[in-house]
């Protein structure tokens, strides 16, 4: 569905992303993991043509066979939202403060389709329900009236409004509590099963995607150091950096291991 070949991102003479290949299929959950400065966010922005003017992307990004990289800004605007949707870390700025959530969602549909007012409202409410929010009240709320988790859910509902084929989620749970982020991940998982949307998940925290990701790309200083099936990387990492990254994650012992340890201490 989404196919990236030899993508590079430059800033003046500096290469920020080295040639990168990536295949994302329908219904697949691909996690792009790396630390700050690894180029994971730049890659995700390049896909939607969101790089700032001083950054230059080269190579090839194809969405269902259509080349994206050389599209003009109006063409990109047409693609974003309809075919590729984004959810970002900073849920606070996902909505304009003094306009109701419903109005902003409505605007999004109106910009891209010619549905009637009632159809639009119906679609908004349905999508708010899909993200497990009380649809009517949230539709009429202002952003500041919602909690962080609720706002991020509303942002996801907005992203899904036009049934995009690819959802790019850039650290969408980093600013949230661990329990809230867990429920957001479960929500997206459910939506993926229902709709078959392809997900590109950008994160610095491998723990988040251990249970959900099908495919994993590990990036370091602009380069992909390891990629493959998620479980094979988790259990048999080959690149030293991946090994280091995995061992750096604080872990809880399993119940069984802890009991074993306690027994050893006691005897």
């Amino acid at each position: 569905m989404l196919s990236i070949r030899g993508l590079t991102v430059h800033h003046q003479l500096q290469t920020l992303v080295h040639p990168l290949d990536l295949q994302l299929h329908r219904g697949e959950w691909l996690a792009l993991a790396g630390e700050s400065g690894s180029g994971k966010t730049l890659t995700s922005l390049a896909i939607g043509g969101l790089l700032s003017a001083d950054l230059h992307a080269h190579g090839s990004i194809q969405l269902e066979g259509k080349e994206l990289l050389h599209l003009s800004e109006p063409e990109f605007r047409h693609i974003r939202g309809r075919e590729i949707a984004y959810v970002f870390q900073d849920y606070q700025s996902a909505f304009t403060p003094f306009i109701t959530i419903g109005k902003q969602m409505d605007e999004m549909i109106r910009a891209h389709t010619s549905l009637s007012r009632q159809q639009r409202q119906h679609s908004c409410l349905a999508h708010l329900e899909q993200v497990e929010l009380p649809a009517k009240p949230v539709y009429n709320s202002y952003p500041f009236e919602l909690s962080g988790g609720q706002l991020q859910r509303a942002a996801i509902a907005t992203a899904l409004l036009l049934s995009p084929k690819v959802l790019i989620a850039d650290e969408p749970t980093t600013a949230l509590d661990s329990l809230t982020s867990r429920s957001i991940i479960q929500l997206i998982q459910r939506i993926q099963q229902e709709t078959g949307i392809a997900i590109l998940w950008i994160t610095h925290d491998l723990r988040q995607v251990q249970r959900t990701a099908d495919t994993l790309l590990i990036m370091k200083s602009g380069q992909v150091v390891e990629s493959g099936k998620s479980h094979s990387i988790f259990f048999h990492p080959t690149h030293p950096y991946t090994v280091q990254l995995l061992s750096s994650i604080p872990k809880l012992p399993s119940r069984y291991r802890l009991e074993l340890q306690n027994k050893q201490v006691n005897t």
């Binding site: 630390e35 700050s36 509590d177 661990s178 329990l179 867990r182 610095h204 925290d205 491998l206 723990r207 251990q210 249970r211 280091q244 990254l245 061992s247 750096s248 994650i249 604080p250 872990k251 809880l252 012992p253 399993s254 119940r255 802890l258 009991e259 340890q261 306690n262 201490v265």
Partner: protein
């Protein structure tokens, strides 16, 4: 355990109310920290864990409750006696960038506590050393930083390096207790692991007591002997780390466990 438990810090019934918030930031929180012990506090944002840290550091006043530090009354100290008591306490905060004055060189930030108490000389520094620069050099070596950083300014250092400087600063007075408030939350995963390891090594070699505060249950588990779970300003659960999976765990602890158990 047969070793006698000597508390270094004993806090009882701490309550803190902010006038602009409907619920207390701390409500009836009690805890003790033993000598050489690491007590962990886990909680999400808004659980009151950072307010607790600031109250224990006497950066904020309490509305109720008592604190004893080194078997002495601590919560009501003022002026000179407060400054004296605080010599024995150290702190590391979440944002290393905010912890270093951008206008001062690393050596000046690092040596600030010792400059203020010229009579103090950390015992772990080899003895014939007199000169300020040599002490600073040794402190940096202690936290595994290159000594050329002494004359650098904070913006020249990475986040992990800056956090190491604040740790070196915290141990420089050989405090009895160091309060670590999310010391790794703003660091990358790999430097996070390195800083946690460093903290554990320092605790071993200098017999430090820690209060380790984090939202990350796994990190808290890794560091602590005992764990307190905070939520909405209250301690909802507490247990020894090796007793993590007890049937009587609070449901909130259980849900956290579920999240962090990958």
């Amino acid at each position: 355990m047969t070793t006698t438990f000597t508390p270094i810090l004993k806090a009882d019934h701490l309550t803190k109310i902010y006038s602009d918030r409907p619920t207390p930031a701390l409500s009836d929180v009690s805890l003790t920290i033993g000598k050489g012990e690491c007590v962990g506090i886990v909680g999400e944002s808004g659980s009151g864990k950072s307010t607790l840290a600031r109250c224990l550091l006497r950066l904020e006043s309490l509305d109720q409750g008592t604190i004893e530090f080194r078997q002495q009354l601590y919560h009501s100290l003022k002026g000179h006696s407060l400054r004296q008591a605080r010599q024995h306490i150290g702190a590391v905060f979440q944002h290393p960038t905010a912890a270093l004055n951008p206008k001062l060189t690393i050596i000046d930030s690092l040596m600030e506590p010792l400059d203020l108490q010229p009579s103090l000389r950390p015992s772990f520094i080899s003895q014939p050393i007199r000169n300020r620069e040599q002490i600073a050099t040794q402190l940096l070596e202690y936290v595994q930083l290159p000594t050329k950083l002494l004359s650098a300014y904070p913006h020249e250092l990475s986040g992990g390096q800056k956090q190491r400087v604040t740790i070196a600063r915290a141990i420089s007075t050989e405090p009895d207790l160091i309060i670590l408030d999310e010391p790794t939350a703003s660091l990358d995963v790999t430097s996070q692991a390195a800083v946690l390891k460093l903290l554990q090594e320092l605790q071993q070699s200098l017999h430090l007591s820690y209060l380790f505060i984090s939202h990350d249950l796994a990190a808290v588990y890794q560091m602590s002997d005992r764990i307190l779970v905070m939520r909405h300003g209250q301690v909802v659960d507490q247990f020894a780390s090796n007793d993590l999976y007890h049937e009587e765990r609070h449901e909130y602890t259980a849900s956290l466990l579920d999240v962090f158990l990958a």
